[in-house]
């Protein structure tokens, strides 16, 4: 029966290779049984016309194939709330950066309607470009998490939840699933932005009828990027490990300590070297702002960079000590 064979093969094309042959055999056998039954009832031969009626009733191949497949998700229901949370945070940050960038541009450009329209158009284009790439990257990270996290990942939380837990002090070894997921999402965002979209990290000025782009970070910072990347990649590895284990262990704390010390080392090295901020007085010297404003802005950004590094060294050092204390308390 050629029609049935073609139909079965069309259904088979839409099925996973693992189950295809089995389902095809069962479907063919069923259709032949049904056809034989109908022919006997109608008192006519089981011909192609009767087969066509039967197949029309049985349904289109894609619909029949779909009944054998479980629902498939790019980002499933268990990760979707985290995905939305990360997306909202990233969209808020990007919106804030876009508004700030636009204010600086508008403040530094010529105060004409044409310039205003041109600046708003440029800012909107950059904003939507940034939104699309952020959205794409977040989707990719969550789609990978959807595939690498085992099904049982969130079950403990669901099964063991008790209202009295609301009053309990958190166990220092317990890990809430959202913490590693957030860290992974933001670390990947950092990796992607600093390595592939460094032009997002800076501001544009309009001067002498041309736009001048000033990067926020200096070459000294970007020379250290391979080490920062290493720390970030190790961090993603640690967070994936924590997600799988659900708790801190002595091994994962040692792993964390290595990353914390690497972070402190990177921050300390940047602190003692040349400035990491390119957005300084000499870079701003060509902007249409007054020399006083330029000097003030340059100093502010220099100090922000310096203090961010000091905080990174102090907070990172404190975290490393806390980690060491937890490792030895456990022993």
């Amino acid at each position: 029966m050629k029609l049935i064979d073609r139909y079965v093969s069309e259904v088979g094309k839409r099925l996973p290779a693992k189950t295809r042959a089995d389902i095809e055999n069962e479907l063919r056998s069923t259709l032949e049984d049904m056809l034989e039954d109908r022919a006997a009832q109608a008192g006519q031969p089981a011909d192609e016309a009767l087969a066509a009626d039967l197949l029309k009733e049985y349904g289109a191949p894609d619909k029949v194939a779909a009944t054998y497949q479980p629902a498939q998700y790019l980002i499933g229901p268990r990760l979707y709330p985290f995905f939305m949370m990360v997306l909202k945070i990233v969209v808020s940050v990007l919106t804030g950066v876009a508004v700030f960038g636009f204010a600086i541009r508008f403040g530094s450009g010529p105060a004409t309607t044409a310039a205003f329209i041109s600046q708003i158009g440029k800012s909107l284009l950059e904003y939507f470009g940034g939104l699309m790439s952020a959205f794409g990257n977040i989707v990719i990270v969550f789609a990978i998490l959807q595939r690498v996290l085992p099904e049982s990942e969130f079950e403990d939380e669901k099964n063991e939840w008790n209202p009295s837990d609301l009053m309990k002090e958190p166990e220092p070894d317990d890990i809430k699933a959202w913490e590693p997921i957030f860290t992974i999402a933001f670390t990947v965002a950092g990796l992607v932005i600093f390595n592939f979209y460094p032009n997002l990290l800076g501001f544009s000025f309009y001067t002498d009828n041309i736009w001048v782009f000033i990067p926020a970070f200096s070459d000294a910072f970007f020379r250290m990027l391979p080490f920062i990347n290493l720390a970030w990649i190790l961090q993603i590895g640690l967070q994936l490990l924590l997600l799988r284990q659900g708790r801190w262990t002595t091994a994962s704390r040692w792993f964390s300590l290595v990353i914390q010390l690497l972070g402190v080392g990177i921050a300390a090295s940047l602190l003692t070297g040349p400035s990491i901020i390119a957005f300084n007085a000499s870079a701003l010297v060509n902007s249409p702002m007054t020399p006083e404003t330029v000097a003030l802005l340059g100093t502010i950004f220099e100090q922000i960079g310096r203090w961010a590094l000091i905080i990174a060294v102090v907070a990172g050092g404190a975290d490393a000590v806390k980690t060491l204390v937890r490792i030895f308390k456990k022993k």
């Binding site: 189950t19 055999n25 056998s29 032949e32 049984d33 039954d37 619909k63 009944t67």
Partner: protein, 108 residues
């Protein structure tokens, strides 16, 4: 009232009953089409798109076992309730009796 809403609600109502119906009829082995007719004779009309994936799922869960046999020059896959399925069936029947009794009280 919207007819689709009615039909969807009926589908929801029947969904849980189908597993019990299928398990209860597989004391003796049946191939898919013969099971479909058996269920239809007893008043449970199912389409193939519901029954075959369900049989595979129940087999995957270990509640059914299946074997291919060649009959009338045609291979057919026969399904029968497994030892795990046999253990589960009486408990499902008890639960069903409780549901019927509860709903009778509610709807009286």
């Amino acid at each position: 009232m919207d007819n689709t809403l009615y039909e969807n609600t009926i589908l929801e109502l029947r969904r849980g009953v189908i597993v019990l119906g299928v398990l209860s009829q597989l004391d003796e082995e049946q191939y898919g089409y013969s099971l479909l007719k058996l269920l239809s004779d007893k008043g449970l009309e199912l389409d193939q798109g519901t029954l075959y994936p369900l049989l595979r799922r129940l087999e995957g869960q270990g509640l059914l076992a299946s074997v291919w046999k060649i009959e009338e020059s045609r291979p057919r896959r026969y399904y029968v309730i497994s030892p795990d399925g046999r253990e589960l069936l009486p408990r499902l029947k008890e639960e069903w009796a409780r549901i019927v009794s509860m709903m009778e009280k509610m709807l009286a």
